[in-house]
């Protein structure tokens, strides 16, 4: 049997086995079921959540010698599945959107720090970005803030209530700090998918869109006379995060070029002399009643996987920055992070 067929057959057998009931335990000291379902807060199998989860879950399954499958069920079904699973048969992987939804008051988003156990962080997608048409009069984010400060309305296409909106809120907050009373000139155009946001830019119905390095980089390579051509004006990730990407960057945009769009080159004041940054981080969530031994088991397995160093290469090839923190550390870190963003959101509300 050729290796490719062997792998395919193994993959098929693994998939089929997930449908069977089995009481196999990974190990005596690791009370995880033999079949682990990992739900994600996205319905897309082409997005970063699925891609990153697949990489990690694949390694985790091998390490623990269990069957594990990523199901792209979406946020609400994922939360519901998590609530039903007290024995750790189902766990969840999602990103900062899990708590941002709650901060923005989106219906159905619980306070994850109260309702679930926050598991380990696994990676950062450093690509959260804001773009303008290539022929836009705004060359930089400073131009955009100055225009808003001078009374010009700036329409920003975002998907509300999550990662897409937090950069918008920070921008609005920055205008509030630099040009008090003018923040109302930064206007959200609420929309859905990346395709919808791009379309608003093509139609001239938005001045700025939220996008990502991965999804929009090729558009930045188009000639200026192309209706689809765009330019980055801001990447929300920290400077240190982008500095960890491969030198080649993404597509035809090198790491050095990407660094032009992050702080300190692009400043978005947040108050107290700090600039706003946002790393989109992926982490596990568990049912509140999950056995602490199972939580520890996943922590230990992931620590081993990250110690070996192979997963980091795989993640970096896919434009993710490896970012493993065990559960307890991750929970404290993410809660602190959410409190910082709560301040911005609350300031704007008031």
């Amino acid at each position: 049997m050729t290796p490719i067929w062997s792998k395919a057959c193994l993959a098929l057998l693994a998939s089929a086995a997930i449908g069977l009931t089995t009481s196999a335990q990974a190990a005596d000291d690791c009370p995880l079921p033999g079949n682990l379902r990992v739900v994600i807060g996205s319905t897309s199998t082409g997005g970063d959540t699925y891609q990153n989860s697949s990489i990690v879950v694949d390694q985790l399954a091998k390490k623990l010698d269990i069957n594990a499958k990523v199901d792209a069920v979406g946020v609400m079904p994922a939360f519901q599945a998590l609530e039903r699973s007290r024995h750790g048969n189902t766990i969840m992987i999602f990103h900062d959107g899990a708590y941002l939804g709650n901060l923005y008051g989106v219906n159905g988003y619980p306070n994850i720090f109260d309702k679930y156990i926050v598991g380990p962080t696994i990676a950062i997608n450093p690509g959260n970005a804001y773009l303008v048409p290539k022929d836009s009069p705004y060359q930089t984010l400073d131009d955009i803030m100055a225009a808003a400060g001078n009374g010009k309305q700036i329409r920003v296409a975002i998907q509300p209530g999550g990662v897409s909106e937090i950069g918008f809120s920070a921008l609005k907050n920055a205008v509030r700090l630099k040009y008090p009373g003018k923040e109302g000139n930064i206007v959200a155009v609420n929309t859905g998918s990346q395709a919808d946001k791009n379309q608003l830019l093509f139609d001239g119905a938005a001045d700025v869109i939220n996008g990502s390095v991965q999804a929009n980089e090729q558009y930045t390579q188009l000639p200026a006379d192309d209706q689809k051509a765009m330019r980055f004006v801001w990447i929300t990730a920290r400077h240190d995060t982008i500095a960890q990407t491969e030198a080649a960057g993404m597509g035809d945009t090198s790491r050095e070029q990407l660094l032009q769009y992050v702080t300190p080159n692009v400043k978005v004041p947040m108050g107290d002399g700090q600039d706003f940054t946002f790393d989109k981080e992926f982490f596990f969530l568990y049912n509140k009643d999950m056995d602490p031994a199972a939580v520890k088991c996943i922590d230990t397995a992931l620590a081993d996987i990250y110690d070996q160093g192979e997963i980091q290469k795989q993640q970096k090839r896919s434009f993710f920055i490896p970012d493993f923190k065990p559960s307890a550390q991750a929970a404290t870190y993410l809660e602190k992070k959410s409190e910082e963003y709560r301040t911005i959101i609350d300031d704007l509300k008031s």
Binding site: P77, G108, G192, Q221
Partner: protein, 502 residues
């Protein structure tokens, strides 16, 4: 990469395997092409990009094509886009022409599939540039145009429109999702329903319930009438299939394939709109559409050529813009991202070999789909010779399993199936028209999103008339479509009246 080195027996075996598995997924009520592609997506890790894509394209084409089998034989659309195949396919099957209907659908499918593959190959970048001229306003008008089919399809205009509006209302239960730019607030339900209905009713369980389960319930009124062999649908007995059936259908084939390809290119409009539009345009513009809805092959030709043309159409924005054209290509994009390949406006230019291999895989999948289905169909069609008291419990079981699986194991989807099965049964008893109702349900949510977004983006209602020449042209099509539907109704009424006088 050398293209020829990738055209291995493995490449073609995977396409054939994908097509066959896809056909099986499409043919099982509740299983779809999207699900087939999603299940096999992780396999692309093992197979690599080219072979993985070959498998997934086979699944895609097979899944879309397989949907016609239960649509014709059981009156259950295997996929949402084969809903219009039931309109003429099932009546043909009832009069013993199941095999003829299926072969008509298969030939129409390969025509639509190859037509769209050719369009994709020769015009993808140009068409992608054209597709982005369709903003929210134009997309809303396309949905509105598809909704005008209600006027053509109902037997009682007033009841048909009422049923269509009821379908739209049902589609709005849930939330205007925040992931679509809405406010995420629950509506049209009581508080205790929020846990189950936050995302509304799922399309496929509703579809299978209203079409499949209600048909079974209606038949169940007859008890075991066919137990001794009476009342059973015969496989043969009606007219046999011959290619002469396509005489005079060239315009229908090209128009429907063109509509399918074009609608596939528009992200978010959805595959069901393509077959509904193609069907309604054939009904309005053909010389004689009096038999459509009663078992006319031209209806199957319109439906199946358009839904298979979706495949190439949906790949246009995927490969030219990095934007999936439909739910299946949205999963297909995962095959690229899992391999770390960017899909965007430079994809074709940067990956010429992959592009050529995808076209070859698409054409091969269509040819293999034809080969597999055309020659296997006489055996598949025998399913309708199975006595109903054996067949129907099996169908109900498959429907339940399919409904449970469609959203990765949500029990409420099974309840949705049963609720809408009973609802469909009651609806037909009290005179509601299920076809307009389901079309309203399928298109309602998109209509809402595009309508609201148009207003939000442009501020007033006049934008629907003044946005662009494309919008004006779509209004003309809407007006013509409605006018034709009224004209045909008046003409048929007069004919009916004069035949009564005679």
């Amino acid at each position: 990469m050398d293209i020829l080195s990738h055209l291995t027996p493995m490449f073609f075996t995977l396409i054939a395997a994908g097509t066959l598995i896809g056909i099986i997924f499409g043919a099982i009520p509740g299983m779809t092409a999207t699900m087939a592609v999603a299940v096999c997506l992780p396999l692309t890790y093992a197979f690599g990009l080219v072979n993985g894509i070959a498998l997934l394209l086979g699944l895609y084409v097979g899944g879309i094509s397989g949907g016609m089998v239960p649509a014709v034989l059981l009156n259950i659309p295997g996929t949402p886009s084969s809903i219009t195949t039931t309109f003429d396919g099932y009546p043909m099957a009832q009069r013993g022409e199941g095999e003829r209907a299926l072969k008509t659908g298969i030939v129409a499918s390969i025509f639509g599939g190859l037509f769209s593959a050719a369009v994709l190959f020769f015009f993808a970048p140009v068409l992608a540039d054209f597709a982005i001229k369709f903003s929210y306003v134009e997309k809303f008008l396309i949905i509105l145009l598809a909704l005008t089919v209600i006027a053509s399809l109902c037997s009682n205009m007033l009841m048909g429109i009422f049923s269509g509006v009821l379908g739209v209302w049902l589609s709005l239960i849930g939330t205007y999702s925040i992931t679509e730019g809405g406010n995420g607030e629950p509506r049209l339900m009581f508080d205790f329903m929020q846990y189950y209905l936050i995302d509304g009713f799922s399309l496929l369980p509703v579809l299978i319930g209203i079409f499949g389960l209600s048909t079974i319930l209606l038949d169940a009124e007859n008890g075991f009438a066919d137990a001794p062999g009476q009342g059973r649908i015969k496989l043969k007995g009606g007219a046999r299939f011959s290619f002469s059936i396509f005489k005079g259908q060239l315009v229908n084939l090209i128009r429907s394939s063109g509509i399918g390809t074009f609608v596939g290119m528009l992200p978010g409009v959805g595959g069901s709109a393509a077959s509904v539009l193609a069907y309604s345009q054939e009904k309005n513009f053909s010389r004689d559409s009096s038999q459509m809805g009663k078992g006319a092959p031209q209806g199957i030709v319109a439906s199946e050529s358009s839904n298979n043309a979706l495949t190439g159409g949906a790949l246009v924005p995927l490969l030219s813009l990095g934007i999936p054209g439909d739910s299946t290509t949205a999963i297909l994009i995962g095959a690229f991202t899992l391999q770390g390949i960017q899909v965007g406006p430079l994809f074709i230019g940067n990956n010429m070999d992959t592009w050529y291999l995808m076209i070859i895989a698409l054409v091969a999948a269509n040819v293999l789909m034809f080969g597999i289905m055309y020659f296997a169909i006489r055996h598949i069609a025998k399913v309708i010779e199975v006595p109903k008291y054996i067949l129907y419990p099996l169908i109900v079981m498959m429907c339940v399993v399919g409904a449970y699986a469609i959203n990765y194991g949500i029990m409420f989807d099974v309840w949705t199936l049963l609720i809408f099965g009973v609802f469909g049964y009651v609806a037909q008893k009290i005179g509601l028209e299920v076809v307009p109702l389901i079309i309203g349900f399928i298109l309602g949510k998109s209509a809402e999103v595009y309508f609201v977004k148009s207003i939000e983006s442009y501020g007033n209602l006049t934008i629907f008339f003044t946005k662009s020449p494309i919008a004006a042209f779509l209004w003309v099509l809407i007006a013509v479509s409605v006018a034709f539907a009224i004209y045909l109704r008046v003409r048929n009424r007069r004919r009916g009246a004069s035949s009564l006088v005679e």
